[in-house]
Amino acid sequence: MSTTTESPKPLTKKDLTADHPTWCPGCGDFAVLATFFKVLEKLQIPHEKICTIAGIGCSSRFPYFVNGHGVHFIHGRALPFATGVSLSRPDLHVFAFGGDGDGYSIGGNHLDHAARKNVNLTYIVMDNFVYGLTKKQTSPTSPKGFKSKTDPTGAIDQPINPMKKLVYGGASFVARTHATQVKHMMEVFERAILHPGFSVVEVLSECVIFYPGAFDDGNPRKGGTFDLIEEKKWDNSPEDAERHDVSDENEAYRLASLQYPGKFGVFYETDRPTKNQLEQVWIDSTREKVGDASAVDLLSSRFASMK
């Protein structure tokens, strides 16, 4: 997505703020929202071009809290809805938001297919390793042993690895950050938004009610380490050989295999044609072929051919 700066008066956080979030005090999602506002302020996307779309979950209430065109859709289907918006409205900046349940459980297939098609939009997942809104059931990212209402003696299924899912799926920008690391979150959000194609940011965002402390390991203030991916600078230095080449899919996959809390930053980034572009090429060449005919003309000649 590219930014435009033709908006007459600058867009401020105040313009972007809608209702006061209904999240629990301390919920990690507040920081995600605040950061999103900051990035929008910086990028100065025209107000009316901002479109946020979500499924169902605590995190999926996001659109209510952003004062922009918004959609609170059904559980798990935010991405195909957003695909419809993105493909038919190249003028908009389309953002999808959701949680681990919405995105990796019920919505898991749509994520893979939106990724391989490289639909032009930015998707931010607030992963809290639990179903928040429905009050503490095991989510596909809940670690083994996590005690929930559906796994009272501890979760037994191997969780999904979201970074692997995104890398394998073909998302053209894949990053990971932490809701307590606002500066990093800002950087990553901005890069995701500026990336042309399907960009995804996985944010570890704590549910203070149903999974407090889940991400302390990635939070230096709570004694954890926030270990950043060092990206290649292509400066031919010996250090650079050790750094991560974000265009290397196999390396990105290997990075995703690291043990929790793992690394943060951009895992993968590539520039390949979006579905939007590819379909537009077809549309344009077809329109050219029919000489930009009107609907009446097109239909008339079609009917004539059936006589």
Binding site: Y64, H69, P80, F81, T83, G84, L87, A295, V296, L299
Partner: protein, 604 residues
């Protein structure tokens, strides 16, 4: 194939015209072979020819149940008058194989003519009341093509025979053949013409004993459009202003999506094949939210998968056309048979009180018109609009007059005008008007479209009063549309022994049944509902004039003896006269079945 308007009269060609040639008003010709033989192709050509000869036509075909092909038929009912059904029985049977002969000789009416391929049919039932005409179709074709071993061309040989027998306009036929095969490499067209000519020249006259001539139609001299229901639906959607849609393939819906995928880019639009039906309806709603009237569709199982998102479409009030090409159910059921068993689901399939508009086309031409109407309604009432077509209409070919495109075609314009202070997407005193994304909100407050209950501005609210009011609002707009519907027109007697009520693809056979019943002295009329939800008002007045109200449907009689439309009518009108004539054998109604069941119902 008889001088009367019906193809069911007891005798063949009872009245040779003065010239010694028997003039036919109607002829039902059944080609029975294998799906690989190209019988659909010549059937289609005959239908097209009818359209060009101001004749009416209706076709019927079966699809083999295995992908690798197998036995298949294509039946063409040609008529100079109105053709309302594909014909209960055939007047002429072309049997290409022994299995074709064995399976279909029973469909030939007494006194009918069976032309069979002596190269493949060893045994015929000579004791039947039928004229058997053996022709070495395969070897004659191979000979004509100069020894092609692939047995291609038998269909064109047969077309040549038909052109000869019925004295069809040879030039027109050749024109159509050239159009069909001209695009491919030269050999193909040359071989086609060789086979056609061989059939046309084959000395069949003596064998038939009588000469036939199919009357020219009485209608306008303008060439008619000849096409099938799914294609007509596609054209109606394009005319209605659909530019975006998404779906997932399934038989018999697929040919609609395939055509939309090809056609929409010509109009600057796009159709997307999604990963499944859930994604498809979500994408289609994304298009609708973006400011377009959009379309999705499927058949039976795929519709069930869309029920959750369609509930959202009602709640959020988004303009979406949903097409269901019905087939035999439940579950995967009978994927290539016709049935009308998804009406209740269209009305009641989603959770919650979910009022939505449901329409059904009555014939191929109506597939076009109803699609146009569906788009208009979705736009006007900002809601999902169902169209229930079916397997029979999907593949059936009919000829009809070209619609008035200049008057009907809608060129959509995206409205991104600024909205002011007063903007309310869901006003309690008006219809929903969304501000598509991209519209500046001059008062600075942007709307969120949600599936939660909400107030006039779209804000979620669990307030009891609001839910009650908004539920009413969603219901009342559909009712308001219902109030605009004219009382259905009665065909036949305006009062009498029985009113037949139908919907969907049974329109033709029901009308023909009314004609036959009246010809037999019965006082009957029929109405055909194109609007199933809401239904038109005032029908009780029509019902009052008849002793019986008989609802003819292709679905099951249910737990209490009533089909789906009958159930709806009884619930609304509480009139015990309303009874059902149902069946679930996966076949179209034969006119004579309707006639006899109506007779029985009148009798008691």
């Amino acid at each position: 194939m008889s001088p009367s308007a019906t193809s069911d009269s007891p005798e063949l060609a009872a009245s040779p015209a003065s010239s010694g040639v028997t003039e036919l008003q109607n002829a039902v010709i059944r080609f029975a072979g294998n799906s690989q033989d190209g019988i659909q192709t010549i059937g289609g050509l005959l239908a097209r020819l009818a359209g060009r000869s101001s004749r009416e036509v209706m076709t019927y075909m079966t699809i083999p149940s295995t992908i690798s092909g197998g036995p298949s038929i294509f039946q063409v009912h040609l008529g100079s008058g109105e053709v309302l059904s594909a014909g209960d029985e055939s007047d002429f049977l072309f049997a290409f194989y022994q299995h074709s002969y064995d399976s279909h000789i029973g469909s030939l009416r007494p006194g009918g003519i069976c032309i069979y391929d002596t190269d493949n049919v060893q045994e015929v039932k000579s004791d039947l009341d039928a004229l058997h005409v053996g022709i070495p179709i395969t070897s004659a074709t191979v000979e004509a093509l100069g020894g092609s071993s692939r047995e291609r061309g038998k269909n064109l040989f047969a077309l040549g025979l038909v052109t000869q027998i019925f004295k069809l306009n040879k030039e027109k036929v050749i024109g159509l053949v050239s159009k069909q095969f001209g695009g491919k490499n030269e050999d193909v067209l040359r071989n086609a013409m060789l086979a056609f000519d061989a059939g046309f020249a084959y000395p069949v006259g003596d064998l038939l004993k009588v000469e036939y001539e199919l009357q020219q139609g009485r209608g306008s001299a303008v060439d008619k459009v000849t096409t099938d229901g799914n294609t007509a639906m596609v054209l109606g959607l394009l005319a209605g202003g659909v530019r975006y849609g998404a779906a997932y393939p399934i038989t018999p819906w697929s040919t609609i999506m395939e055509q939309l995928r090809v056609e929409l880019p010509k109009y600057g639009g796009l159709f997307v094949q999604a990963e499944d039906e859930l994604a498809a309806v979500a994408m289609a709603l994304g298009f609708a939210y973006s400011g377009h009237v959009s379309v999705t569709g499927s058949s039976g199982p795929g519709l069930s998968l869309k029920m959750e998102a369609l509930s959202y479409a009602t709640m959020a009030e988004l303009p979406l056309v949903v097409i269901n090409v019905q087939r035999g159910g439940p579950s995967t059921g009978l994927p290539t048979s016709v049935e009308q068993s998804d009406l209740m689901q269209a009305i009641y399939g989603s959770h919650g009180d979910c009022p939505r508009i449901v329409l059904a086309p009555k014939n191929v031409a109506d597939c076009f018109y109803i699609a146009v109407e569906a788009c208009e309604l979705a736009r006007k009432y900002s809601c999902p609009v169902f169209v229930l077509t079916d397997m029979a209409l999907a593949s059936r070919i009919e000829a009809f007059e070209q619609p008035d495109l200049a008057a009907l075609v809608h060129e959509p314009v995206l409205d991104l005008s600024p909205r002011g202070e007063e903007f309310k997407p869901y006003p309690l005193d008006g219809l929903t008007r969304h501000a598509a994304p991209g519209s500046p909100m001059t008062a600075g407050k942007y709307p969120v479209v949600t599936g939660l209950e909400h107030d006039e501005w779209g804000h979620p609210s669990a307030n009891p009063g609001i839910h009650q009011k908004m539920t009413e609002r969603r219901r009342e707009k559909i009712k308001a549309f219902g109030a605009t519907l004219p009382k259905p027109e009665i065909y036949g007697d305006a009062s009498g022994e029985a009113l037949i009520v139908g919907w969907g693809s049974t329109w033709g056979p029901i009308r023909e049944a009314v004609e036959r019943l009246r010809a037999a002295g019965r006082q009957v009329g029929c109405i055909h509902l194109r609007h199933l939800n809401p239904m038109p008002n005032g029908m009780e007045e029509i019902f009052a004039s008849y002793a019986n109200v008989l609802v003819v449907e292709m679905n099951d009689e249910g737990l209490y003896g009533q089909g789906q439309l009958a159930t709806l009518l009884r619930a609304r009108h509480c009139d015990p006269k309303i009874r059902s004539i149902c069946k679930t054998d996966g076949l179209n109604y034969r006119v004579r079945d309707i006639v006899s069941r109506v007779e029985a119902a009148i009798a008691g």
